[in-house]
Assembly symmetry: C2
Homo-oligomer: 341 residues x 2
DNA sequence: TTGAAAGCGCTAACAA
DNA sequence: TTGTTAGCGCTTTCAA
């Protein structure tokens, strides 16, 4: 009652209010050790009445344990990472661990900064997108002494554990399917991807497999920013004007693919006869389009799940080294825009 | 060199490696107080060589300052909250403050839990979606002693500060515009919204304004889960089969509206002549559709920005009480699906 | 089952 | 400009 306004409550306040030692109050609040039911009730009542919220800063410092998992991803706005988060959440929900998200905007310097910030909170584990990091970042990850799971990509060597798909293979398989279906004049549209290594790898795998089939990309275009759906329209319109004989368009993501699909339908193109289309990611949105765009699932939710499971397992038993490399293999969904061979 | 593996580095390690007192090392790493350039360099070199990452847990406990802003929102997956986050980030980027996100899934109990967790880290401020909270949550917010900004909604009384739009008014204005344009047989589709208070308020404002014009909702349907785009298709198909004489469809969000729009176009409906449509949110996606859906911008990014600005201002100067209630007033974007009166 | 003492790693406040 | 001392609020450890 005489507590100065705005001084946060401490264990001591609860201790005084309940007439129980700080130590026992702490035990009650953490459900640790044996405490008599009577004391327990007394303490809980006092804590609730005061509106006490434990100070985890102090708790973590004392216990040298922090139940946070740092999740470092490039972006939140492109439908893929929210799904990864869903997978992670689903697993961590049943544990004391809590995810904390950091965003890098695909910038290595920002990744470095975010990683440093995160590590300064001494989390119990790290889930980080991609296998490409600055030397400094890699050094921090290695030195952290906590489980590190690199996700989304499987083309490379992880610092510690890894859960993802091979984007090179994804690009390759799509190219093979396209060739097998008889398409030959192929255009590519995607984000400007110097820093999006996964998009880059898909593109590389794609062109390599085409080359193996004796086919070269007939046209390609990269974009930045803007609404993906309308970008897809514009790019497609431009490209079809420039290279009218294209018979297939491969998009680096489903959203610009959807834009292209809508435009082509409006123009009256016969799909997938005159021209075929494919995107990448397997986003839910595609279900509602006039035609189902061919795509390949990036296994986003499963990647999140498996990564979180690794962190949980390692947190429980740090020596265990199983499941360090989980490589998922998505398959092509032909939808209505990629004809059968 | 003889440091036991996996013992995290401390200030003391840097102090010993550089031959400078812990206190001065701390000063260098925080850019506080006057330190000679020579010592500064020595310390930074040592810290870098060791790969030292400061322990913020200890730092925060000692300084009684935590540069985190808790952001509590219902969901990450529906395009609206990522944009709010963008607005918040843009402002906090230029400050020492960092956002930490908690997700409630629209559940009051979960909100309570998340809020408790967040408060246990003693953040510098709270940004929380909505004005409806459990009594316990409201009590925690009040007792926290830190700036609290409730966002997205302006129909109600905030615990502290508030930044949002009136959803009741949004629904009302849309209804008025629809009536003025001469539509009379109006259907509504939306999420099951017992817990989505903003959607509920829009619906209430909408039906009230219709009633004032002597019109009653001719049909309505609520959905849960699934891809919003395909839900929009299904619901629209069902509703048009059930109530074929509808001449306007109001959707509680743009994505189901987009699904409805695609379906109606496929069926050859004359839009906005035979039937008009409107959604809500002003999502970027709409730019790429065959027709631009009428909508109303929810001012998502601006809400994030203004909320963050309030936190920043109050953190710098806790007494300042200005800008406690920011009510934004979005206007209708008629797109191509709501004809002029 | 309960309590007392000693820190966790850092920073505020003051002294030199 | 640099160093020393005394905590921050909690938990670990050990004793009662």
């Amino acid at each position: 009652m005489t507590r100065p306004l705005n001084r946060p409550l401490t264990l001591r306040d609860v201790s005084e209010a309940s007439g129980v030692s700080e130590m026992t109050v702490s035990r009650v609040l953490r459900n640790r050790g044996d405490v008599s039911e009577a004391t327990r009730e007394k303490v809980l009542r006092a804590a609730k009445a005061l509106g006490y919220v434990p100070n985890r800063i102090a708790g973590s410092l004392a216990s040298q344990r922090v139940n946070l998992v740092a999740v470092i991803i490039p972006s939140m706005s492109n439908m893929v990472f929210p799904e990864v988060m869903t997978g992670i959440n689903r697993v961590l929900e049943d544990t004391p661990l809590q995810p904390v998200v950091g965003i890098t905007d695909y910038l290595p310097e920002k990744e470095e900064k975010v990683l440093y910030e995160m590590l300064s909170w001494r989390p119990s584990g790290i889930i980080i997108a991609g296998l490409e990091h600055s030397d400094a970042s890699r050094a921090m990850l290695r030195a952290s002494g906590i489980p590190v799971v690199e996700i989304m990509d499987a083309d490379g060597t992880p610092v510690d554990a890894m859960v993802g798909i091979s984007h090179r293979r994804a690009g390759r398989e799509m190219a093979e399917a396209i060739l097998k279906a008889g398409y030959r004049r192929i255009g590519f549209m995607g984000t400007k991807m110097a820093l999006d290594h996964r998009a880059r790898k898909r593109f590389e795998g794609f062109t390599q497999a085409l080359a193996k089939g004796g086919v070269e990309i007939a046209d390609h275009e990269f974009y930045t920013g803007g609404s993906a759906l309308s970008k897809g329209r514009e790019l497609t319109a431009d490209m079809m004007a420039r290279t009218p004989d294209l018979d297939f368009l491969y998009y680096s993501n489903d959203l610009i693919g959807a834009g292209g699909l809508l435009w082509l339908l409006e123009q009256g193109y016969d799909i997938p006869g005159r021209i075929g289309l494919a995107g990448f990611n397997g986003v839910e949105l595609l279900q509602g389009l006039p035609r189902r765009l061919a795509t390949m699932d990036a296994c986003r939710a499963e990647i999140g799940r498996r990564a979180a499971e690794i962190i949980v397992a390692r947190t429980a038993d740090p020596v265990r080294e199983a499941d360090k490399q989980v490589i998922l293999t998505p398959t092509i969904d032909r939808g209505d825009t990629l004809r059968m061979p």
